[in-house]
């Protein structure tokens, strides 16, 4: 699908409707064949490898575009670069239509593996790319599952690779077509049937390639990913004569790499927004640490500290042989005057924000900005901690509680309908007598946004009990008309 998606994306708005059947034509020797078929064409029975004349005979009014494998590859590399900047430091192109991503050490930044997969597929489909993704223990297994598993997003638990691979056809093993044909003649159709055959006869008949691919898929044989390194990437590498493993040693070398990187950043007049530390272990495994920054930075002390806070996430195993520090995402950073006599400098909080984000994750540090909505739980939204001040607030003519329950909790009450506050409320088994109350403050549902709230109403009351505790309660509905709500009462917040 990649060549078709690329073509559609490049054509942009002036592209003909996606519904028209589209194929890309190329040459296989002297024959003109279909290289890729769009979704509509695929549904009409056109497949890659079919001859063009046959395709034209099958589907009248077929749109045929020339295939451009070179441009496809270049475009795929650009996509891989985007994935590298957003998701994981170790990314490689897996031609003709795949991207392989090493997620070890970075999935926590996106809230775990399932969330990361979801975010990746969501971002791709938003930009018009049909993608299938699989996450597995080995490159071979992920490759096979992404292309041959039934569900478009597949994640296998660690150690469950063999079970997941067993039902897949043998084409998923990345074997030469001749080998696959011969295996099919012998009656092998699924990987599971092949996995437990004696290896020696297989090797004698098909050569070492078959067993090698099988081992790669099952994760017995490691296949390192040669990460994509675009031109102009600022990268500092250090090889160790003796592999290092102790925390202090790693910290010391981080302390040596970071200032060199900062010098290069300064020479180019940029600051880093995202940094990757890639440690290649002596057993050829890769450990990666990614650090994100709230504002472009090139202060060695600050950057070193961010990495040193995360050393415990690096598992050195038998030792680290090579350490590479990369500024994956950079932004221009000009020198500026830090302080003047006329006005005191604003304290720079970006360093603090980076350390806090490093500790609690990207979603845990935020500011709150107002949203023009009457519904209390929708009246706030989170914005980045260093966003420009909005200068906006909420209308202050009704008191608002300091603490809001995550979701309103049902309470028992006794109240006169339609617009009197309750005489008492019972919340979590404790009865509070209401001495004073303010209200009702009527809030209508957002009927212009949601059909379900076409006639929804909430009546909010501020009540005070004998002890002086002040609660924010509401009744769903206006007290007269049952279509406006259930007329049940809820506790929503606490006033100071």
């Amino acid at each position: 699908m990649w060549p078709v998606d690329r073509l559609q994306r490049q054509a942009g708005d002036c592209a003909p409707s996606v519904d028209a059947p589209l194929i890309l034509a190329g040459r296989d020797g002297r024959r003109r064949v279909v290289i890729a078929a769009g979704p509509t064409a695929h549904a009409l029975g056109l497949r890659a490898g079919m001859s063009i004349s046959k395709a034209q005979a099958l589907v009248p009014g077929l749109r045929i575009e020339p295939a451009d494998p070179q441009a496809d590859l270049e475009s795929l590399e650009r996509l891989a670069l985007w994935v590298m900047q957003r998701f994981s430091p170790i990314v490689a192109v897996d031609p003709p239509d795949g991207i392989v991503i090493e997620t070890t050490g970075t999935d926590h930044l996106h809230g775990g593996e399932p969330a990361m997969l979801e975010a990746l597929i969501g971002r791709l489909s938003l930009s018009g790319i049909t993608a299938r993704a699989a996450m597995a223990d080995s490159w071979g297994a992920a490759h096979a599952l992404a292309r041959f598993a039934a569900d478009p997003v597949r994640r296998t638990e660690p150690g469950a690779t063999e079970m997941a691979l067993a039902p897949l056809p043998i084409e998923a093993l990345r074997l030469p077509p001749a080998t696959t044909e011969a295996l099919r003649l012998l009656g092998f159709t699924r990987i599971g049937e092949l996995a437990h055959q004696p290896r020696a006869p297989l090797t004698r008949r098909f050569g070492p390639e078959l067993c090698r691919r099988l081992d790669q898929a099952l994760g017995i044989l490691a296949k390192p990913i040669a990460p994509l390194r675009p031109e102009g990437l600022i990268e500092i590498r250090r090889n160790f004569a003796d592999s290092i493993a102790a925390r202090e040693t790693i910290a010391r070398y981080i302390g040596k790499l970071v200032p060199r990187l900062c010098l290069e950043l300064e020479a180019k007049g940029v600051g880093a927004r995202r940094l990757d530390l890639i440690c290649i272990r002596s057993d050829n495994q890769i450990e990666a640490v990614r650090v994100g920054l709230a504002a472009p930075q090139r202060d060695p002390k600050h950057l070193t500290r961010l990495f040193c806070d995360r050393i415990e996430t690096i598992a050195p195993g038998y030792g680290i042989e090579t350490m590479t520090l990369t500024a994956t995402l950079t932004e221009p950073l000009a020198q500026k005057q830090a302080d003047s006599l006329l006005e005191p400098a604003q304290p720079d909080l970006s360093g603090l924000i980076d350390r806090l984000v490093n500790r609690v994750g990207q979603g845990g540090v935020y500011r709150i900005a107002p949203v023009a909505s009457d519904v209390p739980e929708r009246s706030t939204r989170r914005i980045p901690a260093l966003a420009e001040p909005t200068g906006a607030g909420w209308p202050g003519h009704w008191p608002r509680p300091a603490r809001l329950l995550p979701r309103p909790e049902p309470i028992e009450t006794m109240a006169l309908l339609p617009d009197h506050p309750p005489n008492w409320i019972k919340w979590r088994g404790i009865r509070h007598r209401v001495l004073r109350a303010d209200g009702p403050e009527r809030i209508f549902g957002e009927w212009w946004k949601r059909d379900a709230e076409l006639s929804a109403v909430r009546d909010y009351f501020r009540i005070e009990n004998e002890a002086g505790e002040r609660f924010w309660i509401f009744r769903a509905g206006d007290g007269e008309d049952a279509t406006t709500g259930s007329h049940r009462w809820f506790l929503h917040g606490f006033f100071g």
């Binding site: 304290p347 720079d348 909080l349 360093g351 603090l352 924000i353 350390r355 806090l356 500790r359 609690v360 979603g363 845990g364 540090v365 935020y366 500011r367 709150i368 900005a369 107002p370 209390p376 009246s379 706030t380 989170r382 901690a385 001040p389 909005t390 200068g391 906006a392 607030g393 909420w394 202050g396 008191p399 608002r400 509680p401 300091a402 603490r403 809001l404 329950l405 995550p406 001495l435 004073r436 109350a437 303010d438 501020r462 005070e464 004998e466 002890a467 002086g468 505790e469 002040r470 917040g493 606490f494 006033f495 100071g496």
Partner: protein
């Protein structure tokens, strides 16, 4: 020593230089800081009169808890802390374990949303670590954190971090259940310990709720004495108020006296 310190504001002129030098040495040993430490007055003379140097010491750790059910929902204590933070210039860091702060409510206690950076840390340990980061940074006006358990060691770390940077730290003590709130009796290194409980609001001549009132108790203060006072809750600039009937009889009587003076 405690009582001497308390009276010092009044008797400063009559004390001999030897004694004041001795007092400075003792306070330096205690870790309270040099004589020049800044304070933030509450602008309520009844309250400031009882505090050493006439206000809440900056560059220190302070504890605030709610009384009664307020120990769990911490609504009044949050407004009290927000009011203190609102009266200091700069950004405020507010660390919580789970997000239940309602920003419009904080704005009504004087703390505009642009000034608050929220940190949702997940557990108590992470909250304390984030609070310490904030206190060490030095560029913030105040650091507030919702804390359940605060050990002596942890509070001392926070206090030292606050002392190093001059940022005020407010540990908002908040528990899961009423039974855990007994933890508030345990000693910590905090400079002062406050308890803020909601009281019935100011009576109005019509049905409705008047300006909220709090019972503000200073349970423990280094170099100061415990006391309690009934106050009106923070207004939208973060200032507490003295109820008219406590200050000088009823509001009507105060008005009458003013008129008589003219």
């Amino acid at each position: 020593m405690l009582s001497c310190e308390n009276d010092s504001a009044i008797m400063q002129t009559r004390i001999s230089p030897a004694i004041s030098a001795l007092r400075q040495r003792i306070s330096a040993l205690e870790g309270v800081g040099q004589g020049g430490r800044a304070v933030l007055p509450f602008a309520v003379s009844e309250l400031d009169r009882h505090l050493p140097k006439g206000g809440l010491a900056l560059g220190c750790l302070h504890e605030v808890a709610g009384g009664g059910n307020g120990a769990i929902d911490a609504a009044a204590a949050s407004c009290f802390a927000a009011g203190i933070a609102a009266r200091l210039p700069g950004q405020v860091l507010w660390c919580v374990t789970r997000a239940d702060l309602f920003a419009p409510g904080l704005e009504q206690a004087g703390l505009s949303p642009d000034r608050v950076i929220h940190v949702e840390a997940g557990d108590d340990k992470a909250v304390l670590a984030c609070m310490e980061e904030g206190l060490r940074h030095g560029g913030l006006a105040a650091v507030v954190a919702d804390v359940a358990k605060l050990s002596m060691t942890a509070s001392r770390r926070l206090h030292l971090a606050a002392k190093g940077s001059g940022t005020i730290g407010l540990a908002l003590r908040r528990w899961r259940s009423q039974a855990d709130a007994g933890d508030f009796g345990q000693p910590t290194a905090a400079m002062t310990r406050w308890r803020v409980s909601a009281l019935p609001s100011q009576p109005l001549p019509v049905p409705g709720i008047g300006r909220p009132r709090w019972l503000v108790e200073l349970i423990r203060a280094r170099a100061g004495e415990a006391f309690d006072i009934e106050l009106e809750a923070c207004d939208d600039t973060g200032h507490l108020g003295l109820p008219a009937d406590v200050a000088s009889g009823s509001a009507a009587a105060a008005g009458g006296r003013l008129r008589a003076l003219r």
